[in-house]
Symmetry: C2
Subunit: 485 residues, 2 copies
C-alpha cells in the first residue's frame, strides 16, 4: 500500500509489520523532512485527508503530527494544516550506518595519543596462546560453583544497596583471605573493589598525582603501571634493580609515588627481602611518598610459603596495596582490588563514583560467597599444585630444547618465568619470529623504562597444559637455534 503524499513522497504502511502504524508513519514523515523530500514550508494535507488517503485512523495521524510538531519537524496551528518547519537539509541516509565519514575535526587528547607509544597492553598478540604471561587457566576453574554463587547473589541484590560501591560482604571476605594469605592488615572499609588491578592503579594514580609529579617504577617493570602513572600526568622514572629489587641507594630525586612488585618482581620474579622493604618504607615515609604495591599473582607460591605483603609491614599508612582476582580465578572475572590507607577511603570512593571504576554488585556478592564457602582457597591450593608442575615442566623442557647454556630464573611463585638471553641477542626479533611460529614470548627489553640492561624472553606457564608446554618449548628451541643462539 504505497501512497504518494501530495505528489512528493511515498508512504508505505505495513499493517502486519513488527512496528505499529504510528511508528511507521512517524519514521517515514520524519525521514522525508530530514532528507528534504518534504521541503521547509511545505503544507501537508489535513489530518482527515491524510487519514483517508493512507487508510489509517485519524487518531494515528493526529498522534504522529503532534509528535513531529513537539520535536520541531512540523509547525502546527489552530485550524491550519501542518507545514514543514524550516530545517537544514541533511545529507543523512536515515536508517543506514556505516557510510559515516571519519570524525571530522575531532582531535584526541595527549593521553589517548600516547597509547600508540606505550608498550602496554602488548599489541598484536591476539588471542592468548602459549606463553602469554599473566593468564590463569580458566579451563580449571569451577564455573558451575561460580554460576551458583552468581545466581544467588543476583537474587538478593536490591534497591537498598545502591549506595554501596564496595560491597561489605566482599570487603570482609577478601580481607580475611588477604590477611591470612598475604599478611595484609587493614579494616574492611579500606578494601576497594575495581574491575581490574589496572583500574586500581589508575584510580590511585589519579588521586595522588598531578601533572609533572615524579613517580618511580621498577625497570624492567610492568608496563601497565607506567601507562597509568603517565595517564595521571606523572613524569615516570625507571629505577634499576639490584639483587634485592628496586635500588634506591644514592638517589637524590624525590618521587611522589613508588610502584613496586615485591612478592614476584615483574618480570624478573625476584623476591624483595624484608630489609629492602623496610628501607623503601622508611624512605617513602621520610619524603611523604606513596608506595603502590602490586601483588598481582602472589597467591601462587611454590617454594616455601607465600611471602607476606609489604603492606603488612607498613605502620605509616603510605602503602596502597593492589591485587586482582583475574589471576587467582580467571581473567574474565574482571575484578581487582586495592587496600588503601584509612585516610584515603573516602576520597577513593568518590573517585570511584567520578570515574565509574566499580564492579557489578552481584559479582562482588558472588565472590564473597565463593570465598566464604571455601571454594576460593580450594581453587588456589589446587592451582598452586598445577602451576608448580607447569613451571617445572616448562623449565625442564626449555632446558632440553635449548641445551645446557640456557639461563632461566625459575621463580619461587607466580605465573611466569624469564629466560635470559645474551646482551647481543635481539629479543625483539626473536619474539617476532616466535609469534610467527605460534608462540607468545615477550621480549625483556621492552619492559625497561629508560636504559635497556638485559635481554630475555618472558613466558607465562600458568594457562597451558603439558602438551601445550611441550609444543611451545620445542618451538622456542627451534627458533633460538635458527637465530644462532
Amino acid at each position: 500500500m504505497a501512497h504518494l503524499l501530495s505528489g512528493l513522497i511515498d508512504i508505505e504502511l505495513l499493517p502486519s509489520g513488527a512496528r505499529t502504524l504510528t511508528q511507521q508513519l512517524y519514521d517515514q514523515l520524519r525521514q522525508a523532512v530530514l532528507a528534504g523530500a518534504l521541503p521547509p514550508g511545505h503544507r501537508l494535507p489535513s489530518s482527515r485527508d491524510l487519514s483517508r488517503h493512507l487508510k489509517v485512523s485519524r487518531n494515528v495521524v493526529s498522534l504522529v503530527v503532534e509528535q513531529l510538531a513537539m520535536e520541531g519537524y512540523l509547525d502546527v496551528g489552530q485550524g491550519r494544516r501542518p507545514t514543514v518547519a524550516p530545517l537544514a537539509r541533511s545529507s543523512l541516509q536515515v536508517g543506514k550506518a556505516g557510510a559515516r565519514r571519519a570524525p571530522a575535526g575531532l582531535r584526541m587528547s595527549r593521553w589517548a595519543e600516547g597509547f600508540g607509544r606505550t608498550d602496554w597492553p602488548f599489541e598484536n598478540e591476539g588471542r592468548p596462546r602459549p606463553f602469554a604471561p599473566g593468564v590463569a587457566d580458566a579451563r580449571e576453574f569451577p564455573h558451575e560453583l561460580w554460576a551458583r554463587c552468581l545466581r544467588r547473589a543476583a537474587r538478593h541484590v536490591h534497591a537498598a544497596s545502591m549506595s554501596t560501591l564496595n560491597r561489605p560482604t566482599l570487603q570482609a571476605a577478601l580481607l580475611r583471605h588477604l590477611s591470612e594469605y598475604r599478611g595484609v592488615k587493614a579494616n574492611a572499609r579500606q578494601v576497594i573493589v575495581t574491575p581490574s588491578a589496572q583500574a586500581s592503579i589508575d584510580l590511585i594514580a589519579r588521586v595522588l598525582l598531578d601533572a609533572g609529579d615524579l613517580a618511580w617504577v621498577e625497570s624492567p617493570g610492568y608496563g601497565g603501571a607506567r601507562a597509568a602513572l603517565e595517564a595521571a600526568g606523572a613524569r615516570v622514572a625507571g629505577i634499576g634493580l639490584d639483587r634485592s629489587g628496586l635500588s634506591i641507594a644514592g638517589r637524590s630525586d624525590r618521587p611522589r609515588l613508588i610502584f613496586v612488585t615485591p612478592s614476584h618482581q615483574y618480570p624478573t620474579g625476584q623476591l624483595m627481602p624484608v630489609k629492602r622493604r623496610q628501607e623503601i618504607l622508611a624512605f617513602a615515609a621520610s619524603i611523604g611518598a606513596a608506595i603502590v604495591e602490586d601483588d598481582y599473582d602472589s597467591e601462587f607460591h611454590y617454594d616455601g610459603r607465600p611471602v607476606a605483603a609489604l603492606q603488612g609491614l607498613d605502620d605509616t599508612g603510605s602503602v596502597f596495596y593492589v591485587g586482582t582476582f583475574s589471576k587467582s580465578t580467571f581473567a574474565d572475572i574482571r575484578t581487582g582490588y586495592a587496600i588503601v590507607p584509612d585516610g584515603f577511603v573516602d576520597v577513593i570512593e568518590k573517585a570511584q563514583r567520578h570515574s565509574g571504576q566499580i564492579v557489578a554488585p552481584p559479582v562482588q556478592d558472588a565472590l564473597a560467597e565463593f570465598i566464604d564457602d571455601g571454594h576460593f582457597a580450594a581453587h588456589i591450593r589446587k592451582m598452586a599444585r598445577v602451576y608448580r608442575a607447569r613451571r617445572d615442566r616448562l623449565v625442564q623442557r626449555l632446558a632440553a630444547a635449548m641445551g645446557e647454556g640456557v639461563q632461566i630464573s625459575p621463580p619461587a611463585g607466580g605465573m611466569q618465568l624469564l629466560v635470559h638471553l645474551d646482551d647481543q641477542q635481539d629479543d625483539n626479533d626473536i619474539s617476532m619470529r616466535l609469534a610467527a611460529a605460534g608462540v607468545t614470548a615477550r621480549p625483556l627489553s621492552r619492559h625497561f623504562t629508560g636504559r635497556i640492561t638485559g635481554r630475555g624472553l618472558f613466558l607465562g606457564f600458568a594457562a597451558w597444559n603439558e602438551q601445550e608446554i611441550d609444543a611451545g618449548a620445542e618451538i622456542i628451541g627451534r627458533v633460538l637455534r635458527a637465530a644462532g643462539t
Copy 2:
C-alpha cells in the same frame, strides 16, 4: 604449650588451630623479629633444639627457618645457627589494624581535592528516599528472570573470550534495542560497555580533552558531567538555556566538547527540538567539536513516543552517545554504555584497558540475553506505565499540597520533575528543611555552572509508590508553607 625461645620470646603453637604449625611458627618468629623482641644478630637455637623444645618436627622448623631466611628475616649459613638479620626495629603492632596513623605526608591530587568543591554526587543524602532523582524502582524489577540470565551467562564464559572488553552479544542486542527505541545509528563495534554513564563520560572526556580545553555544559545541568570534564582538565563553561535548550546563538568561544541532554534536559525536562539539534550539530562540525549526548532516561517517554536521539541525526561522526541500564533496569546493575564514532572505537577500547572501565562479562552476556528474550522491552513498557502514573500523581498531590500557585513542569518523559520557586526563595534552605523532614529535594540553584537564574526543587518520582509519593508531597507542602511560600 607456651615456650620461651632462648629466654626472649614466647612461642605458643596450637596443634588443633585453623592454621598449621608451620604457619603459626612462621608468624610468631617473624613477628618477634619485626617487633625487635628477637634483636638483630641474635643467634637462634639449632633446628634440633628448637624442634625438641617446641615439640614440632624438625621438618617444620627447617621450613620456617628457610622461609624466613629467603625473606631476609634470618641469616643462615652452612653449619651455623640462624641469626636474626639486621633490620630496622618496627613499632608495628603485628596483627592489629586500625591503630594506623593517618597518611603521613601524602598529598592528594588537585582532581581528588576538587571532589570537595563539586556538587556531585550530592552529599549527605544518605540512602535514597523520596524524591531522590535518577533512581529506578528496583522493587519492580524481575530479579528472578535476571538471576537466571546471569547464571546461564556465568556458565558460558571461558578463556577464549578474555580479549573482549565489550561483549559482541551485548553490543548486538543493545544496538538493536537502541536503534529501535532511540533511533541510534551505528555498527555494533561502536557500542562500548562501561560500569555507568558516568564512566562513559569520564572515558570520553579523557580521550578527547587536554588540560585547558574548553567544554560547554548546560546550565542548569548535570553535575556529574561537569565533574568528569573538569577531571579531564577542561575549563568548563555553563551555557544558558532558552526555550529550545542550549542557547548557542551569538557565542564566539569555541569549545572542544559540548555536553547536552536533548531528550529530557537535566534538570528542566525540556525537549530540544530538531532545529536546535541541527544547529548544534552544524556548529560542532564547523569547529571540530565533539558532542556528548547523555540520553540517560529517555526510554521512558509518556506523552507521544520517545523522541529519537540526536546521535541518529549526525552524519559527521561528531556525536558520542551515552546511556545507562541503571535507569531502565535498576541502579545496582552498574552498567552503562556509549556509542562512539567509528574512528574512535580502537582508542576508546585502549582507554578502557588503561583505566579498567569494564563490565564483568557474565553481566554483559546476561544483559544480552535479557534483551534478546524480550524481558528488557517488556520491563520498559511496564515501567513506563508505572512511572507515568507516578509522575501524574506527584504533580496532582503537589498541586493539592502547595495550592494553586505551584509551578511544575511535568516532563513528557523521564524520571524526575522540576517544581519552580520564586527567585526570592532560597531553594537550598528549603531543601535542607525537607531533608530534615525525610524528603530529598535537590535545589535547582545547585545545578548551575556560573550565574544562578532560577530556583526550584528537583524531584525524582520513579522509585516511589503511591503511599510514598503522597506522604512526600504532603511534607513538601507543609515545609513550603512553613517557609512562607
